[in-house]
Symmetry: C2
Subunit: 277 residues, 2 copies
């Protein structure tokens, strides 16, 4: 399994993809009062925590969250350096806004510059706000730059909410697609949902969507309006938290409820999935 | 976080999706000699191990692997019952062969019958050979039946090799599709790869494929033959193991190597990913 080893100055360090707990951003809500932030090992395997505790150079979506994460790691295993001596740089803003899969020579140059410590022999951690970096989250520009520079890349095991939701949905897990966000404009959104549903019918694919929590209720409404009655729709809310819920039933069954959202904690982070097979 | 609580006989138990380490099936190879099978907590968070140690009723892809898994759980936390008193039933063969996303009333009936202990108030675990059940693995028919019977479904955090590979690829993690296996027939396979590549170009989607290890080399060859030179191709081998490798470069760069597979442990479980954005 993964261990951080001392290296010669000549060899580059490794870029570790370090997943984080899914409860960040919920620290002040009622959910977190019932489920206080605890040590990282509740969410992460021993080997992931062991590697994270030894890293001192970070590329991060948000430095504040990364410091909070490192405090939780330290509850399990002493950090290699005191927290204030860690070097944490934030991903370029461009990587946040539009996603960083787009090729841009400026972004590529910034990414390479951020990896300078790895070229000097330091292992580095790439970390996003919650869950797995570069999966439904920024970070892929850094990973691409690492490959281009000959820096070994190692992903560490941790929570990936999309796959927790897929497993819990009962939908086809042998063919699926993550489509990200759907448009906010009502007409465009309806068009997009029809397009995705016809993709399900053609290929058997499960479609996976996300939304920002305050628009969860609107997306659920749109899905129930646009999808066919026999399509299966699953919604997972608050995955990994004590009060998580996954509901999976046909659109017809959803529609037959007087209030489809009743009983669901619609203000928690949500994943929406549907399929026709 | 998830805990298994005693229940009244009237309330159904919960169906837990229990992920397992990724090193199963490698127990006798050279890789495993260098990396002997250890306790489950190297791969799984404390909360997952805690729940798994308390379950005594299992629905499993392979009962033998499940017993081996439980021995690794017991290295961390005592099991609620001795191993020989666990009730482990295997998924119907139909669910293995074709994937169990296909609606079949026979399969549905079998799935419901297997969930009888949950209806009697027992918590149950759904477990596949390696990784997350019902994700690129059988099990979704059981999850669907649980939803139909009003049995709460809770997925637990653990390794999902597809997402480790996606993160490590540097490819677009904001839009991606898992296409499973491509056809073995050379002509059909070429056609399918062109189809998937044109999907990348139209949508920006990353395509994710798997193959059985003894055909890894053939699939790599086919990918290098059929994909366009500027398409980025990533291969992850032995994810989670000490000797894991991820290589990510353009098809042109892959092709410029005298032997593209040289230096890669091509006999290990592999994930192939490509994208054009």
């Amino acid at each position: 399994m993964s261990t951080v080893q001392p290296r010669l100055a000549a060899a580059p360090g490794t870029l570790y993809l370090v997943p984080t707990p899914l409860d960040f951003g919920l620290r002040n809500g009622p959910e977190m009062d019932a489920n206080p932030v605890g040590s990282a090992s509740a969410w992460l395997p021993r080997d992931t925590v062991a590697v994270a505790s030894q890293l001192t150079h970070w590329i991060s979506e948000n430095a504040k969250s990364t410091r909070a994460f490192l405090k939780r790691v330290a509850m399990d295993t002493p950090l290699a350096l005191p927290l204030q001596e860690h070097r944490i740089v934030e991903l370029p803003r461009q990587a946040h806004k539009k996603g960083d899969h787009m090729t841009s020579s400026e972004l590529e140059q910034q990414a390479r510059a951020m990896l300078a410590p790895a070229l000097q022999g330091h292992d580095m951690g790439l970390v996003s706000e919650a869950g797995m970096p570069a999966v439904a989250d920024p970070g892929s520009s850094i990973v691409r730059a690492a490959h281009a520079l000959g820096i070994p890349v190692r992903p560490l095991v941790g929570p990936v909410s999309l796959m927790l939701a897929l497993g819990a949905s009962g939908l086809n897990g042998q063919q699926f697609a993550f489509a990200g966000y759907v448009p906010q404009d009502a007409e465009e959104r309806g068009k997009r949902l029809h397009e995705l549903e016809s993709m399900c019918r053609r290929t058997g694919q499960t479609q996976i969507l996300i939304e920002t929590p305050y628009r969860n209720a609107a997306l659920l409404k749109a899905l129930l309006q646009h999808l066919q009655p026999q399509t299966r729709l699953a919604v997972s809310l608050g995955l990994g938290l004590a009060h998580q819920v996954t509901r999976s039933e046909t659109v017809l069954q959803w529609r037959s409820r007087p209030d489809p959202a009743a009983g669901l904690p619609m203000d928690l982070p949500a994943i929406f999935l549907f399929g026709t097979s």
